[in-house]
Symmetry: C2
Subunit: 415 residues, 2 copies
């Protein structure tokens, strides 16, 4: 078999080739975290009328020209704007009308004097101690959005404020990319379901739970195809089922060479299979296989949960973002800066992803690498994130500032 070990960068580039499978129109109440499949345009001007941005008095700006603390302008108070109504009063020269923030500017007025600069002399007269220019403290009809303007772009992932803005524009349904569907298969003769008591030599299924939750966290829909022994025909059927039902298939291997070989053999039974990656030059996570079957990516992941999670954080997260149609501002992933607690030697030729614990230290953070035997899962719960030690570095030093990819403590993902 020819050599397909790739670097992280090559793998990320390959994964960029996979995009979203389709879109759908949904209510904005369900759209939090979804990614737009089309630009959203303003269907109308917003706010649509001249609106005061302050509490104060609607006036003709001209009437305030030259007004100062020592030489105030005197205006006749002729009424008040009622919130939520078109005012039936007209501001004529020499007059003022009381207005609240958000109120509609009455005809004739072209500016608002803030409450702070106005002093009622009696019920009918106010003193203005500050000149305003035309349109001061006024929001114009299309100041917020002009009809037809792009409000949000295709590829944007919707945040609370985006939903708010759409509701403000009367947009109650929106086109978003479909959530990627991920078929998850756990393999290995030694793996038993979580509700079964393992006999000596057996372990419970960890990867199905971890990877399903990882998918939900990333906004994808996991389809758990359950456990599959190290049996060629059974695995082949299960993968086929995954390809039928999902946009991508993830097989988390038993971690033995035998299981990995089996996964590859099953891949090879598909006519239109193209092997893209056979090994990645990272640690942990090296024994990762990626193939393309038709238009779908299919992954053979390491069996060790800790290794599978590194592959998930580093490669599957951006892969799912791509399947979601997300056009993220890169460089804003959840990284924090921290001071390294000890020297780290670099293993040449591969990128090491160390699990690290973050501790507060003064105003900043200290990153403490967690070491442990390969195959342990306890190191996973102790870690707050991953520290990448690049294959081209000669090592990292105690006290050095490093960037840590923080495991996402995302909430709202279990619904």
């Amino acid at each position: 078999m020819f050599f397909k070990v790739k670097t992280s960068e090559e793998v990320l580039e390959i994964l960029k080739g996979f995009g979203p499978s389709g879109d759908e129109k949904i209510s904005i109440e369900l759209a939090l975290g979804r990614t737009l499949s089309r630009d959203v345009l303003a269907p109308e001007n917003l706010p649509g009328f001249y609106r005061s941005s302050m509490d104060g008095y609607a006036v003709r700006a001209k009437d305030t020209f030259g007004a100062t603390e020592s030489l105030p302008a005197l205006l006749d108070l002729t009424g008040e704007v009622i919130m939520g109504q078109r005012p039936d009063i007209i501001v004529r020269p020499g007059t003022a009308v009381k207005i609240s923030t958000g109120g509609m500017l009455p005809e004739g007025a072209d500016g608002v004097v803030m409450l702070e600069y106005s002093h009622p002399l009696d019920e009918k007269t106010i003193e203005i101690s500050h000149a305003i220019s035309p349109l001061e403290n006024v929001i114009q009809p299309d100041d917020d959005f002009k009809k037809g303007k792009t409000v949000l772009e295709k590829g944007h992932t919707l945040r609370p404020q985006d939903l708010g803005v759409m509701s403000g524009l009367g947009i109650s349904r929106v086109s978003v990319f479909q959530r990627p569907k991920v078929a998850i298969i756990s393999t290995g003769d030694e793996v038993v379901p979580i509700d079964q008591r393992p006999e000596p030599g057996q372990v419970r299924d960890i990867n199905s739970y971890t990877l399903s939750a990882f998918c939900r966290q990333a906004g994808a829909e996991p389809i758990n195809l359950g456990l599959c022994g190290d049996n060629f025909e059974q695995l082949k059927d299960t993968v086929k089922q995954g390809l039928d039902r999902a946009d991508t298939v993830w097989i988390s291997g038993g971690s033995s060479v035998g299981t990995r070989d089996l996964t590859l053999k099953v891949f090879e039974t598909f006519d239109n299979m193209e092997l893209l990656v056979h090994g990645i030059s990272i640690s942990p996570g090296k024994p990762t296989i990626i193939a393309k079957i038709g238009s779908r990516a299919i992954f053979g992941l390491p069996g060790h949960t800790a290794s599978a999670m590194v592959v998930a954080e580093v490669f599957l997260a951006p892969f799912l973002a791509g399947l979601s149609g997300e056009r993220a501002l890169s460089g804003t992933s959840y990284e924090v800066e921290a001071e390294l607690s000890r020297n780290i030697e670099s293993a040449s030729g591969r990128d090491d992803y160390l699990r690290v614990r973050l501790e507060k230290k003064g105003d900043g953070l200290m990153a403490e690498p967690i070491f442990g035997k390969s195959g342990l899962i306890s190191t996973l719960v102790e870690a707050h994130g991953l520290l990448r030690v690049d294959r081209n570095t000669e090592g990292l030093y105690q006290g050095q500032k490093v960037r840590v990819m923080v495991f996402n403590p995302i909430k709202g993902g279990s619904g």
Copy 2:
């Protein structure tokens, strides 16, 4: 009325006084993003048996002592460990048994020689070219977790790997704090429901949508009590309903002084009301009111959506984390470092929260402040995050490195 304007720090300290209201036991499949209300202890040893961490040969370490490339040890191959089964073979002196990663160590063996250091001579004999020490490449029964050991602590918010580890330990249900319930009320005579066409002078309800989504994103459960005009009795009844049904009540005001006064008047009708905050020395967001009624916090938020969102990001996010029982590692909020694109003057006496756009610049990010009239919502969708200009600073300079609180592009929150 006495002076209750507080600094950000004072407000955050006050909000720490509110904690979770109760807990519940749920399936781990629903527990992503939830916060533990009790420590999780290991109910058994994990893995529970001696387990190989490598593909290779189970041997007696003693038999390999002194073995080198030039002087290998010769061992009799007597069988193979079947995955998921207790081996019925015994490793006697001078013998070796083939074993895969994750396989159970046979009786008699105390270490595993990696495949790389073993060369089969014929079907019955292998050559070992590397000495191992006892327990090398072996995971002991309690290496991962010792029975009774704390696996995850109370206050920890559950990530995918935490669910995986619990499944590995056979823990299928877990005690978590209840999701905080948030009653949301929009006020203002000028506000109409989203599906209604606003007349001149009217605007659609934005805050209900924004704040509801903000709650879902933070793992809280919004209870939308709808619109309430500037009507004392109606608002009082709606607040009462909110106090009955939720852990906290958020009233997003019309932004006029009149509406704010009304909110305060309604607060004052409750016997056990204690006014905690009447104004915060920040901009935007100053006209925020916080009171305690019984054990519940009740908020009067600014009517401008942009201001309400600043208050939400800065104060309501940690408040909800507190109600969720979360013991977050502070300092790891979603902040990124960026270079400031221009000079910023500081307004003395208050903390300014500027909306900023982040743009890639070389390897890093550039933070570009977005300015706009007060009351606009378009600035909200353009911004990627908030930049705090501390009240004690003399300003920020172009080219200076600043930290930006990134608006959370959280996914998986709409289910």
